[in-house]
Symmetry: C2
Subunit: 371 residues, 2 copies
DNA sequence: GCCCCGCCTGATACCGGTATCAGAGTCATG
DNA sequence: CATGACTCTGATACCGGTATCAGGCGGGGC
């Protein structure tokens, strides 16, 4: 109906023919550049309307060299954290006339390289990346983009080997604040549900930090924050209280179960991710313990459920939407001609104090322990 | 480094020149079509490797007419339901060499039309749409795509005015089953936390159904399931027990609060969405009531939190990932040449019975009430 | 009355691929 | 030795836009 041949839509030449003008005139009218007399303009517009003309963005990109498309690489679109972040990216991109192609890597560097290649092939104008890469040898795919003149903005995770704009929160500080709160409440045996996929659980503090610097940036920062708080309070570090390895709920249940079965068991658990928190809750239930009476709980990534739990959970809230929005903003500014600042844009996270933290069991009841 | 001029990457002509062969020969080698002698092939490959050549997918799409890109339109990427669905779409698309552009509409038909236009302009090969459209006058944008030969597969929501493949669950049946379970437990005053954004709360059953047929397909189906169960049990319908309007948590808290304050108050609440459930929990807490003792609770969309609540919540689990995966599969099959079946692909949802349903207060204690 | 200038339009090269097709070169055969 | 068949390569048109540039036309100045 809309087009003569039922397929593929009319081209600018067909519109020009319909309007009885030259191709260039139709192009100027429809592309909104150059000069066209009001009369011809009207004829072209009418013809376009009649044929249901829509410009071919591919052809336009070919000739202008810009695609008005951003490429985004994250670990997993299905993860609520990244989903929220993506919403931020997508909202501000759309507002500025850009669309978004999203690729998930599932924390696999191979996939991340493949994703970068796809985006280069599709000639996106810029990258927003939550990268699993850290070290010098792992960043060739990002360098390749930069070499081609494609700006890259990092989000959620910095890449220490690369001097780029990065939109993040202060993970180290956020973790330290959370653990300090537990210590202030009287805890000294604080479990740490952590993430780097290491083969052997690191036995020493040094091994732990080494593993951290080989893996996810956020995980490393959060570990450092945990250690900072322990150090400041002169609490000795105990590797038995750290879970390493992938944060699947089942693993967390096992590991937290182990920490709860220790002779000198944990009286608080700090989780660096959502699955860590749900797994810990399961472990508590399995051990017949309750929070905050037996064990205090703090976790990362606040959400509607954390607030309706009974008792409600103390959580670190990340500004997910803002993280994505700011990353898009920085990237679009660069595309708009701004010089890359090549700096960390640190957004504020918030520790939301609810009822899941209390003094450890056996603490003499004082109303309001002095900070 | 990779390319002579630090920008934009080398073209096939530059590779040909570097290899000392014709453009067509380089194209045949790199494009993997036609015949090239092993020797020249090797020279071209070496040149491409040396220059860091990557084919321009835009140019390729221009000449072949296919972009290997799927366009997806959903209400909100940030919503965990759609995020999970998108993961399904994205996983199976990637596996078949397709990438995905996602656009959110926030349930706004205007936005949906704009999104469809963007996708047409970008010449995606097919659409996957969770549409807010229902009626004949609202589907022009989808028709426009079909007219251009772009196949459309619906997901999560059918569009009654259009005869298309749709990948959905049986919302009506799922809702009926949930409400039947509540009735079987002895409930007769069952609140329904529902969604259509209507100005006035519908006062009659007829108005309710009319509102439903003007709004989201899923909401309408779930309402019908609720009414089905009531009818089968000869329980009179009471409009006071239905919340209409946007399912923001605050509204839900107010509305459920109202139902709990009724002289003949609700003894069970059925929620058609996540925010409905968290809102209901808040309302219960505010009223000083507890579940399942005072009020039983059932909701849509299972997740990790529902299982760790105390007591754990009875939920209808949708196969989110599979919903997206199947939609992508159907679409890719059509793109592969299969004839569109133009049918409903109904996936199975599961009612997960946990501890949030009990007989209404005041029920004589019998061990195991007969079904 | 003539010339020059500026306004407006359309012809055309280009972006970087794909795909067709002509023709150069090789070899076997009559 | 000429011819035909076949193999392999490169020239070129095309996809649908953008952007440059030449030229037609009308009006004003001298």
């Amino acid at each position: 109906m809309a087009t003569e041949r039922g397929q593929a839509g009319p081209t600018i030449s067909e519109v020009a023919a319909e309007a009885g003008v030259g191709r260039a005139t139709a192009a100027r009218t429809l592309g909104g550049y150059g000069y066209v007399s009001p009369e011809l303009r009207a004829r072209v517009l009418a013809a376009a309307e009649k044929l249901g003309y829509r410009a071919n963005a591919l052809a336009r990109s070919m000739s202008t060299g810009v695609s008005h498309t951003l490429g985004v690489i994250v670990a997993d679109i299905g993860n609520p954290f990244f989903a929220g972040l993506l919403r931020g990216v997508s909202d501000t991109s759309r507002a500025r006339g850009f669309d978004v192609i999203v690729l998930s890597t599932y924390e696999n560097l191979q996939e991340e390289v493949a994703a970068a290649n796809v985006l280069i092939d599709k000639r996106v104008d810029g990258f927003i990346v939550a990268s699993a890469a850290l070290q010098r040898g792992q960043v060739a795919h990002l360098k390749a983009a930069l070499d081609r003149g494609i700006p890259v903005v990092l989000v959620d995770r910095a890449v220490t080997a690369l001097d780029l704009d990065a939109v993040v929160i202060d993970n180290r500080d956020a973790a330290r604040e959370a653990v300090e709160m537990l210590i202030a409440a009287g805890h000294r045996r604080i479990g740490f549900v952590w993430g780097p996929p290491v083969a052997e659980p690191p036995a020493t503090r040094r091994e732990l930090l080494a593993a951290a610097s080989r893996n996810l940036w956020t995980d490393g920062e959060r570990l450092r924050g945990y250690l900072d708080a322990l150090d400041d309070a002169h609490i000795p570090f105990d590797p038995e209280l750290v879970m390493a390895g992938p944060k699947t709920e089942e693993r967390v249940v096992r590991e937290v179960g182990r920490m709860l079965a220790l002779p000198d068991r944990v009286t608080a658990v700090f989780c660096t991710e959502t699955d860590g928190m749900t797994g810990s809750l399961r472990a508590l239930r399995a051990a017949g313990l309750s929070y905050p009476h037996d064990v205090s709980l703090v976790g990362f990534d606040d959400n509607a459920w954390a607030a309706v739990m009974e008792p409600p959970l103390t959580m670190i809230a990340q500004p997910v939407h803002q993280l994505g929005a700011k990353a898009a903003e920085v990237l679009l500014d660069i595309l708009g001609g701004a010089e890359p600042a090549r700096e960390m844009h640190t957004l504020r996270s918030r520790l939301i104090r609810r009822a899941s933290v209390a003094p450890p069991p056996g603490t003499p009841r004082v109303s309001g322990s002095s900070t």
